[in-house]
């Protein structure tokens, strides 16, 4: 045991997002700096002023689920289950025996079954129907994905869903990390999912006037807002001794986590809240700032986030801020809101395992307020030992994870 508890490692990963329907395809897109943001294909698009997104294309639930499952699975649950299947298969774990009692599920989502809300409000308000399908509630609830994962894999330990807007996944993975580290569980399935790309979901975001109509360009002087994405990523977090004893392949070690609240503004970010979370994750991991080679930024592409995040990094790391790399993969897969930290953890694992740093694409003009090495437009080969993943949510809730090379 380390001074803080058991060591925690990642032994499985799965995803579906705008770039690919699996981890291998997503990492390939990261290496190529490919953009998954396209014109949206959704109902009533002509009434939207925002018409682009990181949408999952070529998705037919009937390829993956039977009719009884589809009536219960909102798209955010479908995405989660697909990602969980890939992660569990990679880990090689079987939860049917005792391990199932020692493993739980903690997932993040901001909106849960937004498509189900949207479709059924349409039915009762627009179409004037007085009856909806009997499973609307179990389909839309925010914990539906978590519960279906626990049922599919026989996971009977501590399980719940975290909703902290854009930081949901990082908060979820932080909780999962704590549970394995403390010995409360042997393993956890964790990550997050989001599927808000429907008329009501986008219309709500339009209202804030922070969305870009053309592209997500984090840290670029001409950035003009965020672009929504959808999808999921799920990981298997496992007790290191347990993983080692069975000879499992270790993708990375989770070494630190910290969370803070700005207690300041419901939408504007705070440099101090972000900096305290970053510094807290370093302290929790027992690493020095100089050890950090890469940060997967929150990097939303809004004016406010990107400059505040860069200022926070500069504050925490001092002169080392100019030597580390920081990139935002939201430029490729969009902002998955409650699922974003999970998909972005894949870029952290790629940096540690493959020595490839995912780029910030769409970068066109340097911004003096974001004067860090943002790995513009092309992936880079670099050996890094420790990486961070930032998430700073609306509501001022911040969550930062630290990972180390296995």
């Amino acid at each position: 045991m380390s001074p803080r508890g058991n060591r925690v490692v990642i032994t499985g990963a799965g995803t579906i997002n705008a770039l690919a329907h699996d981890v291998a395809g997503t990492l390939e897109a990261f290496r190529e700096g490919r953009c998954g943001i396209t014109e949206l294909d959704i109902r009533d698009k002509e009434r939207l002023s925002i018409r682009i997104g990181g949408q999952v294309h070529n998705w037919d639930p009937e390829d993956r689920f039977n009719r009884q499952q589809i009536v219960l699975y909102d798209k955010f649950t479908q995405f989660t289950l697909l990602a969980a299947r890939e992660a569990v298969a990679q880990s090689g774990l079987n939860f049917e025996g005792r391990l199932g009692y020692e493993t739980g599920v903690i997932l993040g989502t901001a909106g849960g079954g937004v498509n189900t809300w949207d479709e059924n409000y349409r039915a009762v308000y627009e179409e004037g129907k007085n009856r909806v399908h009997p499973f609307v509630v179990p389909k839309l609830m925010n914990n539906a994905a978590c519960s279906h994962v626990s049922m599919e894999f026989h996971l009977k330990g501590p399980s719940f869903t975290v909703a902290t807007a854009c930081a949901s996944s990082n908060h979820a993975m932080g909780q999962a990390f704590h549970m394995v580290r403390s010995g409360m569980t042997k393993a956890m399935l964790t990550g997050g999912s989001e599927s808000m790309l429907c008329f009501g979901g986008i219309k709500a975001w339009e209202g804030l006037r922070v969305m870009s109509k053309d592209a997500c360009r984090p840290f670029s002087l001409n950035r003009n807002g965020m672009v929504q994405g959808e999808g999921a990523a799920v990981f298997v977090f496992e007790d290191y001794e347990h993983a080692r004893a069975r000879g499992a392949e270790i993708l990375a070690e989770v070494v630190g986590f910290a969370m803070t609240s700005d207690a300041a503004d419901i939408v504007m970010p705070s440099k101090h809240g972000a900096a305290r979370a970053i510094a807290g994750a370093l302290r929790d991991a027992g690493v020095n700032g100089e050890d950090v080679g890469y940060i997967n930024a929150h990097g939303t592409g809004t004016a406010a986030n990107d400059k505040t995040e860069c200022a926070a990094v500069a504050d925490v790391f001092g002169p080392h801020a100019d030597r580390l790399m920081i990139s935002s993969t939201k430029s490729m897969h969009g902002h998955l809101i409650g699922g974003t930290g999970a998909v972005e953890l894949l870029a952290c694992i790629m940096a540690l395992r493959d020595g490839v740093i995912a780029p910030t694409i769409g970068y066109e003009e340097p911004d003096p307020e974001c004067a860090l090495d943002v790995v513009p437009n092309a992936a880079r080969d670099a050996k890094v030992d420790v990486v961070l993943s930032n998430a700073f949510a609306f509501g001022g809730l911040n969550a930062v994870l630290a990972l180390r090379r296995a």
Partner: protein
């Protein structure tokens, strides 16, 4: 017509700033009136609803938006332009 646009815009801004309309002058800036970024987005929404127009405004880059928010007079002029364009 022009006067009523001015009166309605000032009433919307005054309500957002929690002031009397008489305290809002044409040379006031939103900053003078204590309206922050959220208050601005809410004011623009109220203007769109009041005049049935769409205001081109992106909070990421207020400076380069086609909609000039540098003063109350600028906002009134911009709204008048949008109202005229809608009527045309």
């Amino acid at each position: 017509m022009a006067r009523s646009v001015q009166e309605k815009v000032i009433a919307i801004i005054a309500e957002q700033a929690v002031l009397e309309p008489s305290d809002v002058t044409m040379t006031s800036t939103l900053e003078d009136l204590g309206i922050d970024s959220l208050g601005l987005v809410e004011s623009i929404f109220a203007i769109e609803e009041a005049f049935d127009i769409s205001v081109p405004f992106n909070a990421n880059d207020p400076g380069s938006s086609a909609f000039d928010i540098s003063s109350v007079a600028a906002i009134v002029a911009a709204v008048e332009g949008l109202v005229a364009a809608r009527a045309a």
